[in-house]
Structures are given as structure tokens and as C-alpha cells.
């Protein structure tokens, strides 16, 4: 039995912590007064520092310590969170990643430069005028009076940690009220007779104070009165002249067991810490390569099971058939479980674009709002990994070329901030990832001119919008008049195309001048095992992904003869084009007397595939085609059948496009 390398485990955990820190910082950037985010970032930095030191990453621990200290000051209300501080810590976070990955590298100069930035950001925030300008979180003076249940101590409640927690909320003055303590002869020593008066100056809301008492609130007396609101600067000795803002008179709200406020906070008790801890202990961290290995084994098992089924089917041995059916059922269940294990939500993928858009916004001077949708959509992890780079190119392209500058947008009657929407949804065995912007749209004329100048299309070629827009994915194609460090060199979009092709996916582009562009990537949910429909065309067998199959029909010889030259079938009052695979694959064989039409679709587009025989469903372990066949568009892969033969897997997207083109040509021909 091998034990995981603790350093590798730390690196994995550090990567997760850094992601959490980044997410927290980006959230904080939107709402600088968000105490929860400030606490979360602080905790992340604190944990990273501590674990780093424990595993010997001393440079990381030392560097992170400075960021942690800065956030501790923010947390305590000593300095406000500012965008400069968030940016400085974001940059520092990237450096922490380097310190995790290459701890022995020469990082000193970078560390110094980043820490100088951090110090400048903290000092800028510490400046009272700057603090006010950057809207420091307002602090409120609360007067709190509380007494715990008389049996609190006997029941194991220690008041001291509660008082400590109050102190952690801000500047605190706690005075014990001992007026109710009886004489020793009358004292029941395990009862609590002390109550407390507290003055707390904090930027935390009243609910944070109530949360301190969440577990004893039922029987205690708690009065919280907001006395005044003040900024942290107003309380500092240097700025005593800064007027304290009076707050609206707030009624004292005694909180007792009968008060309606009591029950609500109890349901949102600070249980998450424990609950999260117990939940974490139920999870097991498994390296991704182990999952890949397991997937390969399951794939081999599925192939072996397929062979067993075939042997059992040809045998008269009833016991063998029964065993074969059991194995088939179990391997199917194992496959389904395995597929679920490999599925991860796209939120992991989308999360990284928040930082990208934040950085691009700074680089381009454009105001950019990133909106994400469908983050819970799950996709095979290998697909997620391979989608990252294409999406980076597309998002960068939208930011650089798609969105206008704030002035241009205002002049066009649009909001100053441009919007990029990343969305994901599942549709018929595919995940559709869409990148949509509300920018200027693709300049059709410029694309055409560039394509003609590059010799990609002949002058005045008759192209649909879709055909024209697909040209932007050609190598070296860029309509940008200026090359920036973001885009414009014509590399990138062809990488997108190549990657999506390799994933057996398709790209669809839509654009409206002045309104923006939308690029949709349709990718198979998994690249490993699919349910397929095994068909025969001539002597060859082929697999059609079952998720794309809508229905199967019989094509009689008469109908076949009637449809010659038209290649349409009438399906519930709509004409559906069909492709004769026998002709397409040039089998040179005669058609079977009762051919079948398998109707497949991608979204709203449908096409029928005429085959000689439908053999049945087949668990299909997808094997990649060799490099020699990478340009064969009709097939997306191959699989091994039970008898050892190879069956090619049909590329549904390509066939539907071909069928639709055939329909368009026939319609054009009248």
C-alpha cells in the first residue's frame, strides 16, 4: 500500500486554498465592506501560512505572513479594505503559487517588490482621508447588557469564551455587574449571579453580536442598543475632530426566549464550522490519474463483457447466459458510477475567469462585468481541463475586441460597463458553453475583406453568416487593427477550433452589429464511455451515440425508390433530410430489403441516417482515432466490439451539418 507524498498533498491543498483566497478577494473587490469575505480571506491566508510552515515551505510562510497581517488589520477595522489592497494581495497570491510550486527558486526580488506594493496599499488605506475616500466600513457603538441563565455554569457554559468572542468583534469594554451576588451563606455556588455590561465599537452588524450567544439565547437576557455609528478614522485620536455620524435612534431590543428574533438565528447557528469539518471527513481525496486508471479498467471490463455477451448469446448454455446478463448489468452500473465520479461542475472552470476578467479590466481600462450561469452543470473532468484554454482565448477576445471602451459605450447608448456572460447547460448528451458579450459585434465586412485578402475565400463568395464567422477560427486570421498583448495576432482562435475539434465538439457563432456576439461550444459530456446504437451498413458496423438518437423508422424499398433524388422523409408533417450511409461510405453492397432510418439530432437540427440493420444498444468505450485519421470528419472515434472487431463511431454533429447542407442545396436547386 502506498501512502501519498505529504508534500504533494500540501501542494494540492495549497492550490485549493489559493483558489478560495482568490475567489474571496474578487468577491471583496465588489463589496469592500463584506466582513465575511474579509474573514474568509484572512482565514485562508492564515491556514496557508501555517500549513506552509508545517511542511517546510518557509519562504511561503514568511511571505504569506505579511498578507495575513494586512488582512488581520482589515479584519480588526484598523484599516479599511481597498481595491488597491485587494489588487496587491491578488498579485501576492500569484506569487504564493510560485512559492508553493518552486520553493527553491529565486523569489527574493519578486517577494520584495510585491511586499512594497502591499505596504503601499496598506499605508494608503491607513491614511484617514484615503480611508474615508474609499468608504471605510462604518463602525457602530453598541451597548450590550446580558445575563446568562442561572444554571449556565452547571450546564457547562463558561461565560469567559463568550466575552472573548465579543472582544474579537471590535474595541470592547466589559464590566462585570456583581450586584446580584448574594452573601456566601446564601450562595448556590454553581449558579451564575453575575451579569455584564459591554460597550462594543465594531463594524459588525447586530446579528454578529447575537451570534455570540446563539447557543444560550433561549434562556438568557440580552439587550443590544446601537448608540452611534462612526468610521474607524473618527475614533482614532488623530481625527477626533471628525464628526461622529449620529445614527437613527435605534430602539433597545431586549432579546429573550419569547422574542421573535431568537428562533431565527438559531436556525442559522454558527454550526457550519463543525458541520463542514464533519462533511470534509466524509470525503476522500483521490488523484485524478487514479480515476483515469480506473476508467481505463472499466473500459476494458466493458469490452470483455461485450465479448462475453456475444459468446453467451451464441451458446445454448442457460447458466452462461444468466451469468453473462449479471455481468452486463453490473458492468453497466459500474460504468455509470464511474462516470458520476468523473463529473465535476463547470463552476471550477468558470471560477478562474473572474480573475482573468478582473485583470483584463485593469489592462484595457474597460469596465467589465462577468456574469455566469449554469455553474452546477456537470461535465467529465477531462473535458473541463481541455476547455480551459479555448475559453481563455474566447474571453480575452471578447474583452479586447468585443467590448467597447466606456466612452464608446456611452456614445452608443449602452451602460458604461460591458457585460460578458459565461453560461453552461446540458443538451442531448452535450454540454453547451456559451460566451456572450454585449459589445460591438463581429464586423462582417472586415472579416470578409480579411478573408479575401488572405485568399481564404474567393472575392464575392456567397457565404452564410455562420460560414463567414467560422473563418475567424482559421490560423493567422485576425481583424484587429492593433496587436495588443491580449489578442490580435491571429493565434488563439485557431487553437480554440483545434481543441474543440479534438473534443469532438462544434462551434457556433452568432453576432449582431452593435449588440454583441455569442459563441457557443457544444462538447460531448464525456470522452470515455457512451451508450451507443450499433448499426450495420454494408459489411461494416458503426456506433451512433444514443443520446443523439431520436427515433428509428423502417424505410421500405418503395419509399426508398420514391425518395431517390430527394432524400427526404416525411416525419409527422415535417420533412427530414436523410443520408444513405451505404452511399456515403461507398460500401458497394446492395441495400437490405428493409433498411432503417435512424433519426439523429443536435438541438433543433435533425437528419436521418439510412442503415441496413439496427443491431442494438452497445456500451461504447471510445478510443481516439489515430493521427492518420484525424482529418476524417465523419467519425469521432472508434470502439472495440465483443468479437474483437473495430466499429467506427459516427460524428453526429458533422453528419447533421452535412444533411442540412444537402437539404439547402436541394432546396436551392428547386
Amino acid at each position: 500500500m502506498s501512502f501519498p507524498d505529504p508534500i504533494a498533498v500540501f501542494r494540492t491543498e495549497a492550490a485549493e486554498l489559493l483558489e478560495q483566497i482568490e475567489a474571496g478577494l474578487l468577491d471583496l473587490n465588489v463589496n469592500l465592506g463584506d466582513k465575511d469575505r474579509i474573514d474568509a480571506v484572512f482565514r485562508g491566508l492564515h491556514t496557508l501560512k501555517g500549513s506552509g510552515a508545517m511542511f517546510g515551505f518557509d519562504a511561503l510562510a514568511a511571505f504569506t505572513h505579511h498578507c495575513e497581517t494586512a488582512f488581520d488589520r482589515v479584519r480588526k477595522g484598523e484599516v479599511p479594505a481597498t481595491q488597491a489592497l485587494v489588487t496587491a494581495v491578488l498579485e501576492a497570491k500569484d506569487h504564493m503559487r510560485a512559492l508553493v510550486e518552486t520553493p527553491a527558486g529565486d523569489h527574493e526580488a519578486t517577494s520584495e517588490a510585491l511586499l512594497a506594493n502591499l505596504r503601499a496599499a496598506v499605508e494608503g488605506a491607513d491614511n484617514p482621508s484615503a480611508a474615508q475616500a474609499l468608504s471605510a466600513p462604518a463602525r457602530t457603538l453598541f451597548k450590550i447588557r446580558f445575563s446568562l441563565p442561572q444554571n449556565a455554569m452547571a450546564n457547562g457554559t463558561n461565560p469567559l469564551p463568550l466575552l472573548d468572542e465579543l472582544r474579537e468583534l471590535g474595541e470592547c469594554r466589559i464590566v462585570a455587574d456583581r450586584s446580584a451576588i448574594p452573601s456566601l451563606d446564601l450562595l448556590s455556588p454553581t449558579d451564575l449571579h453575575i451579569s455584564w455590561n459591554v460597550e462594543l465599537l465594531t463594524s459588525q452588524p447586530r446579528s454578529a453580536i447575537e451570534d455570540v450567544f446563539i447557543f444560550v439565547m433561549d434562556d438568557m437576557q440580552l439587550e443590544i442598543t446601537a448608540v452611534e455609528a462612526a468610521t474607524s478614522a473618527a475614533r482614532s485620536p488623530e481625527s477626533r475632530e471628525t464628526p461622529v455620524q449620529p445614527v437613527e435612534p435605534v430602539a433597545t431590543e431586549p432579546v429573550t426566549a419569547s422574542a421573535s428574533r431568537v428562533s431565527a438565528p438559531v436556525t442559522v447557528a454558527p454550526l457550519p464550522t463543525d458541520a463542514k469539518a464533519s462533511k470534509t471527513s466524509e470525503n476522500v481525496r483521490v488523484p485524478a490519474e487514479k480515476l483515469d486508471e480506473l476508467m481505463d479498467r472499466v473500459g476494458e471490463l466493458v469490452i470483455a463483457q461485450s465479448r462475453l455477451s456475444q459468446l453467451a448469446g451464441g451458446s445454448g448454455d442457460l447458466q452462461l447466459r444468466a451469468v453473462s446478463e449479471d455481468v452486463e448489468r453490473l458492468s453497466g452500473e459500474l460504468r455509470d458510477t464511474m462516470m458520476v465520479l468523473r463529473m465535476v461542475p463547470v463552476t471550477q472552470l468558470f471560477g478562474r475567469f473572474r480573475r482573468l476578467v478582473h485583470d483584463l479590466s485593469h489592462e484595457t481600462g474597460k469596465m467589465i462585468e462577468l456574469v455566469t450561469e449554469g455553474e452546477s452543470t456537470e461535465v467529465d473532468k477531462s473535458v473541463i481541463e481541455r476547455l480551459a484554454d479555448p475559453l481563455v482565448h474566447l474571453v480575452r477576445n471578447s474583452c479586447d475586441h468585443g467590448l467597447e471602451t466606456p466612452d464608446e459605450r456611452l456614445a452608443a447608448g449602452k451602460p458604461q460597463a460591458g457585460r460578458i456572460m459565461l453560461s453552461a447547460r446540458q443538451q442531448a448528451g452535450e454540454v453547451i458553453i456559451t460566451i456572450k458579450d454585449d459589445g460591438r459585434g463581429i464586423n462582417r465586412e472586415r472579416v470578409r475583406a480579411k478573408a479575401e485578402a488572405s485568399g481564404l475565400i474567393p472575392p464575392n463568395a456567397n457565404l452564410t453568416d455562420q460560414e463567414l464567422y467560422q473563418l475567424i477560427f482559421q490560423p493567422g486570421f485576425s481583424t484587429a487593427q492593433q496587436v495588443t498583448n491580449l489578442s490580435g495576432r491571429g493565434v488563439g482562435m485557431d487553437v480554440v477550433k483545434r481543441t474543440i475539434d479534438a473534443l469532438r465538439g462544434t462551434i457556433n457563432v452568432a453576432s449582431h452589429a452593435g449588440q454583441g456576439s455569442e459563441i457557443s461550444l457544444a462538447i460531448p459530456l464525456t470522452l470515455a464511455i457512451i451508450d451507443g446504437l450499433l448499426v450495420r451498413v454494408g459489411a461494416g458496423r458503426y456506433v451512433i451515440p444514443l443520446s443523439a438518437v431520436e427515433e428509428c423508422l423502417e424505410l421500405s424499398i418503395e419509399e426508398d425508390m420514391r425518395s431517390r433524388g430527394r432524400s427526404f422523409i416525411s416525419l409527422r408533417d415535417s420533412l427530414v433530410p436523410f443520408l444513405r450511409l451505404r452511399d456515403l461510405f461507398r460500401t458497394g453492397t446492395k441495400p437490405d430489403p428493409f433498411q432503417k432510418v435512424v433519426v439523429i439530432s443536435t438541438g433543433s437540427e435533425r437528419v436521418g441516417l439510412v442503415v441496413d440493420q439496427i443491431i442494438g444498444d452497445h456500451q461504447t468505450v471510445i478510443k481516439a482515432m489515430s493521427k492518420l485519421h484525424h482529418d476524417v470528419a465523419t467519425f469521432s472515434g472508434a470502439t472495440i466490439l465483443g468479437d474483437g472487431d473495430v466499429a467506427l463511431i459516427l460524428d453526429v454533429g458533422h453528419l447533421v451539418t452535412e444533411g442540412q447542407q444537402q437539404e439547402a442545396h436541394l432546396r436551392a436547386a428547386g
Binding site: 455554569m153 469567559l160 464590566v175 462585570a176 452573601s183 456566601l184 451563606d185 455556588p189 453575575i194 459591554v198
Partner: protein, 109 residues
């Protein structure tokens, strides 16, 4: 009257001065105050203390005053006892009498 006088009748408290042991301590302390005109209380530097002990001592002070007796600490509060006094808010707004009793600041009560 000096601390040294009190030390003659010094009541050495057990190391556990928490709510678990407080009932027994109360009983002994009550008997001691009843028996002596002056009682001096001593506790170990490494004792375990919680708020119940501070409350007990305050109750004992009230009882001693009402019974015309004296009670004092052998040493000013320090270590864990001082820590509990501080955390529980007893040091804030302490009267002169309180400061004398707990911290030996000023005269002896």
C-alpha cells in the same frame, strides 16, 4: 493588621477552583470565616480557575463584612486568577475596596 497576621490562618485552596469543585470550597470557606475573625486565602500559581471562583470570593467578602469578619488574599491576584478577573470584566470599573482586596493596591480591607 497586616497580611502576615492573616497568613497565620491561611486557607490554602485546592488547585481546582472551577465549578466542579466550587461547592466543597464554599462549604469549607464558610466554616473558616465563621470560625476565625480573619481569614486569609491562598491559591497555587498553577491553579485552575473559572468565573465561579471569582463569584465565590465576592460572596465571601459580602458575608465577611456582614459578619464583622476580615477576609483577604495572601498574595495579590496573579496568574490564572488575574487572567479570569481580566477576561470577566472585574478589573474594569473596580472600586478602591475591590482593588485592595484583589490586587493589594492601597490598604488592607
Amino acid at each position: 493588621m497586616s497580611i502576615a497576621d492573616f497568613k497565620e490562618d491561611c486557607f490554602h485552596l485546592p488547585p481546582n477552583l472551577t465549578v466542579r469543585a466550587i461547592s466543597a470550597i464554599r462549604q469549607e470557606m464558610l466554616q473558616l470565616i465563621d470560625k476565625n475573625r480573619s481569614t486569609t486565602i491562598a491559591f497555587a500559581d498553577d491553579c485552575q480557575v473559572d468565573i465561579s471562583f471569582v463569584q465565590l470570593m465576592e460572596a465571601a467578602r459580602i458575608y465577611a463584612v456582614s459578619a464583622g469578619k476580615n477576609i483577604a488574599l495572601a498574595e495579590p491576584a496573579n496568574g490564572p486568577v488575574l487572567d479570569v478577573l481580566e477576561r470577566s470584566g472585574f478589573l474594569e470599573g473596580m472600586s478602591a475596596d475591590d482593588a485592595t482586596f484583589w490586587l493589594h493596591q492601597g490598604g488592607i480591607q
